[in-house]
Each structure stands twice: as C-alpha cells, then as structure tokens.
Symmetry: C2
Subunit: 383 residues, 2 copies
C-alpha cells in the first residue's frame, strides 16, 4: 500500500476509533461511531466529558443481556471516557449512561421508549440469525392511526402493520393480532425494539404465516391531564380494557378490512402485556379465539381452577372454544420461566390444551419476545 492510499484510508477512520473488528451498532444514530459491537458480542462505549468526575454504563435492569453492570468508564487524558463490556447476549438491550449521578442517554444511540422515557439501546447481532432483519423481501407498512378516546378524553395513536399486498387485494379480509408491549414501553416498542413488522414480512415471504394485521397500542389508559400524575408502571387493565374492547377493536374493524369475528382475532403481549392478554383475553373469550402470553409475570399461588375468573374451570368447553393458548418465556429469566412452567403444570393437570415455548439463553428482554412472535405467528389463524 502506498503512503497516499494509506493516508486516504486513515482520513476516513473516525476520531478515536479502534483498529479492530468492531462496527457501529445498528441501533446508533446515523454517523455515530460509538457504541461499537465486536464480533464476539463485546460492546465498547465512549463519551467525551472532560468536566465530569464519574461516568458509567447502566444496563436497563438486572436481567439485561449486557450483564448486570454498572460498567465504570475510564477517563483518558483528553477527557474521553470509555469501557468495553464482556460478551453480551445477542439482541436489543436498553441502557443509559450515568454522568455524575444523573441518568442520561448516550448521544450516539437512537432512543427507544422504555423505562417510561426515551432510552438508549444497543443491538447485538446474533450470528446466522436474520428472522428479524429487513431482508430484501416485500415489506408491509406500519400505519399510525390517531383517534379520540371517550374513555380517556385524549387523542390516542395505534400503529397498524398491514402485510405486503394489502392494498392490492381490495376484497380480501385479514385476521388481526393485537400485540401489547411491556411496562414502561409504548405502542412503538413492538416495531422499533421488536422488529415485529420485519418478523412478519420474513415469515410471509417464506409462506410460514397467514397474512394478518398487527395492531399495537399503548397499554396504559390515563385520563386527560394525566401529565400531572407520575407515570404508572403498573398495568391498568380496567382502563386499557375499556379502550381496547370499546374503542380500538371497533375502530380497527371499521377502518381496515378485517375478519371481525373472534376466530379472526388474537390478543398477545409481553410481560405486563402478557398479563393483559391473559386477563382481558381469558375474560373475554367471546372476543378472542387466540391468546399469547410472552413472559407473563408469575401469579403467586396459581390455582388453575380459580385463575382468571375460573376460565379454566370447564376444560372441555374451553378446548372447544379457544383455538390457541400460547405461553412462552426465556430460560434466562428464572422467575418468569418458573411461573410459566407452574402454570403449564396446572393446565396439563386440568386438561387445558396449550402450547409452550422456551427461548434458550435469553432473559426478560426483546430477543425472547422477537423469538416468541416468530414462534407464535405461524400458529395463528390456520384452519
């Protein structure tokens, strides 16, 4: 290599970038050199903060695939702080930086609504896995639909995935999967963090799922002027149930070409959303024939006879009425997978038909839920 070419190459290296195998995370804002992900899953973070006295990386939650952290960053002579984590679990991980005690976002990261606010995130690729990538296949649309809620007195927004070809087959009607996020997240989570649209695009391209709509709404239903109350991280099943059953489903059935009967309607969710799917779905089996619970919070003293208003009390009728009861969790989220196993033992004893899935090596995190959707969607709306 001649010296001029070498200089040209060096001129394209970002300031402070390492001469190694790492690349900027796909979750970064355009042009941000950090965070960088190494081929073995290590993640390097960097922040310029000459006046700060302490900076660390805080993964979002103890179960986080980056590790429990915090990871203290070390300052160089110019005031740039840096740290590299041990190899992370593949997938999307929330994190934030703590600068002199204040939790702040990493300016290099796009923000993802989680933990009740826009939060940094880092995407660690899973080698050989592309079921949630934007592959070169036909893509569906994700449509934002605003509506005025009488329940809350506010304007709300649903995100609706329409599969490729929806606009080309004006006489076709589609089944609908209502898909709920977890605590502290909102209606954007399933597409931004979960890549639900790409998961469906890829399944459809492979002929492995029925074309369906996904409807994603915010699982909280505060009244107007709720801004003056601290954001709840508790489910609000009464309020959201009223929005879902009384407003959102009728709106979706009036706006899109849906199959408006229960056989064409599924309800699923993750964590808090799984609890909502079980509570609302099992409580309204006249509305939903398919229910999916991904990483549901464990129910203390689960009793199959009395749980969910006695929904499992008559196994024969239940099995006839319901087309699918699906449960899943990651093997790395011990409390949650134990809860699912306990529930499944009860269902088994009771003779309630169900499908269970365990995501190997993943915890209470988006990789579990991406895999869960990838497992659940092909089972929906078949004959």
């Amino acid at each position: 290599m001649g010296p001029l070419l070498l200089l040209a190459l060096l001129a394209h290296a970002p300031a402070g970038a390492q001469a190694d195998d790492s690349i900027p995370a796909s979750s970064n804002v355009p042009g941000a050199a950090y965070p960088r992900v190494h081929t073995d899953g290590r993640v390097s973070f960097r922040l310029r903060a000459p006046e700060a006295t302490s900076v660390r990386v805080q993964p979002g939650g103890a179960d986080n695939g980056l590790g429990p952290g915090p990871f203290d960053m070390r300052r160089d002579a110019e005031g740039t702080w840096a740290v590299t984590t041990p190899p992370a679990v593949p997938g999307f991980h929330y994190y934030w930086l703590v600068v002199d005690g204040v939790a702040v976002n990493d300016p290099g990261s796009e923000t993802y609504f989680g933990w009740g606010r826009p939060t940094s995130g880092v995407e660690v690729p899973e080698p050989g896995v592309d079921f949630y990538d934007a592959r070169d296949v036909p893509h569906g649309e994700v449509r934002a639909l605003w509506y005025h809620s009488e329940v809350t007195g506010t304007v709300r927004r649903a995100l609706v995935y329409t599969p490729p070809g929806y606009d080309d087959e004006p006489d076709r009607r589609y089944p609908v999967l209502y898909l709920q996020h977890g605590a502290g997240e909102d209606e954007r989570a399933w597409t931004a963090q979960g890549r639900a649209n790409f998961i469906l695009d890829n399944l459809l391209a492979e002929g492995r799922a029925e074309p369906m709509l996904l409807v994603m709404e915010r699982g909280y239903a505060e009244a107007a002027r709720g801004g003056d109350r601290p954001a709840s991280t508790r489910p609000d099943p009464v309020g959201f149930e009223a929005v879902l059953l009384g407003e959102l489903i009728p709106l979706v059935d009036a706006t899109y070409r849906t199959g408006a009967e229960r056989e064409h309607r599924a309800l699923a969710g993750l964590s808090m959303g799984a609890r909502q799917a079980l509570t609302i779905g099992l409580g309204h089996r006249e509305e939903f024939a398919w229910i999916g619970a991904m990483s549901p919070p464990p129910v203390e003293g689960f009793d199959v006879e009395t749980a969910y208003g006695g929904a499992f009390g008559e196994p024969g009728a239940f099995n006839t009425q319901m087309r699918l009861l699906w449960l899943g969790a990651g093997t790395g989220e011990e409390r949650f997978v134990a809860g699912v196993r306990t529930m499944c033992e009860g269902l088994e004893r009771q003779g309630i038909e169900h499908v269970v899935y365990e995501s190997a090596g993943t915890a209470h995190e988006w990789q579990t839920w991406r895999r869960s959707l990838h497992e659940l969607a092909p089972l929906l709306f078949g004959d």
Copy 2:
C-alpha cells in the same frame, strides 16, 4: 373545603410542582411534571442531580424561541436544579440540558430527531391557534414504508401521509407533495415536530386544500456503512437527488394511487430541504410543477439570470411551465428573510411569477414551517 378533601387533593399534586398556572408541556413523556409551560409562555425546567456541580438549559440554536440562553439552573438544598425562562415565542423549541459540561436530554421530554440525534423539545402553545392540533376531525394515516435503495445500498424508510378517506375511494388518484426536513433532522420531523398530518387533516376538514399525499424521506443519502463517518450536516443533493428521482418517486407512484405526472407532483422543504427543493425542483421541472422553499439558506450574490442552472432565464416559458414557485421565511430569522426578499426582488425584476409569505415574529424554527405548510398547502394542485 374539609381537611380530608384538601388532603386528597394535595396527594395528587406532583412532588415539587408549583401551585401556579403552569401545566406539563404536551411534548413531555406521559406522567412527567416538568418542563411546565406557564400561560404567559414562560417555561420551567427541573432536574434532580444532587452530585452535579453545574446544570443549565441550552436552547437548540441562537435563533431559538426560548431565547438564546443558556439558562443556568439553581440547586436547592435537596439537589434539585430549577430555572424558569422568560416568555418564549409560541411553537416547538429544541433544547438540551448541560450537566457538568455534557449535553444530555431532559428525562421529562419526549425526544425529537434534530441536531443529528434525538433531542429534547418543548411545545409552547400559541393562544387561540389550533391549526396544527389534533382536532376532532377525520385523521389521515402516516404510513412507514421500507425499501431497499440501490443508490445507497441500505434499507430506507419513507413516511407517507394518506388523507382521510384514501382507502374508501379505491378509484381516486391523489397528487403528492414531497416534503423535506432541515439539516440534522430526518423523515420523522415533519410529523413529530411539524404536525404536518394534523395541519392537512384540519385544512381538509375545512375544505381548504385538495386531498393529497405527503411523502417525507430523509434528505441524506449516505452509502452503506456510513456509520463510520461523522454525520454530515451539509446537504447531499447528488445522493439524495438520485434517491428521490430514481427510487422514491417511482416507488410511491407504484405503491399508492398517485397522479404520476408533474402537474400532480410538488416538492417543498425547509432550510436545507428548501435548498434541495430549489436545486432539485428547478433542475427537474419536467418532474415537478409546484415548488415551495421555506426559509431557504441565503444564496450569496444571488443572480436571477444564472441561479439554479439558469432556470429563470426565460420568464415566459417558466411561468407557463410552473404552476407555483412559493417562498417563505420568518421575520425573526433576519438572514433568511433578507435572502428571500433579495431573491423575490430578482424574480420580480425578471418577471418570474411567485408567491411569498412572511411569518410574523418567528425565527428559524418549527412555528415558521408549520405556518408555511398551512399557507402553501391550500395553493397546491388547484385548477
């Protein structure tokens, strides 16, 4: 009032909230009590940071409607920092906090992509003005459409506003306004910061505009692996022009029921996007019959004969060919409004028909561009 009722009311007051006329900004995350906007336009900011030694509010840019700032925050005994600004200009204003020298987002604010990254913003209402509010009128959809760009080798995302009723009139074709953001922003800006969808919804409800599609794409066109290069804040007219003309317009015309001729196609933008609208639009008058430039960066030594490849050289032909040349700026952005006035003087002298709009009292900020769209859209696509 009995003591029990008083206690109940006090129990609902947020920690540290002022007993005054202020309310949480509509741009906040759900449940965040700060920032708060007062009826006179003052804005109160607050951050808990007991270990920090200095915290201030930095408005995004010298022209910012909050004032030039920075606003130093004062610490109370418990380590909460606070400041209230003088009355702000109405509209949306970017800002960030600076904690011990590090620019960070306010955890109370939703993030808005500007300044090359997700940035805090505060919405200051304009008394009596609701043309950009989500009024109780029929709402169009904003659809995210992903596609694979050969020009860049990346997956790109367009946001497409479809007006109310688009799905109910399957034989109707619609004109298209391509609408570009400013430097450091992206395809989300026109809806998130600009509320373009609500502006169109309201105009359509009043019968004041032709039903049209808005297409919003990112005005940068870095090649794949651009993540290793610092984000440009310069326009990239060659790259984006190739995406727009060679890929985006054909995709939109193939995907939606558009009028695919130049008479049904407009190009407009703000700031950097205005420069793109002028450069690309005037350079390709065979593609666009309507051009709008909101707060275009001033062109030094503007010469009407030679500007934009001599587009204005034959006034008669130009006036026959073009349906609209629209220019606008805020009276508070002196350099920009002076540039627009200079350009209009040249056009006047040359006999080039055009429409000019000045937004009273607003600067290089979103209130100027919301008003500009509200002025421009009714002039488009008429007979």
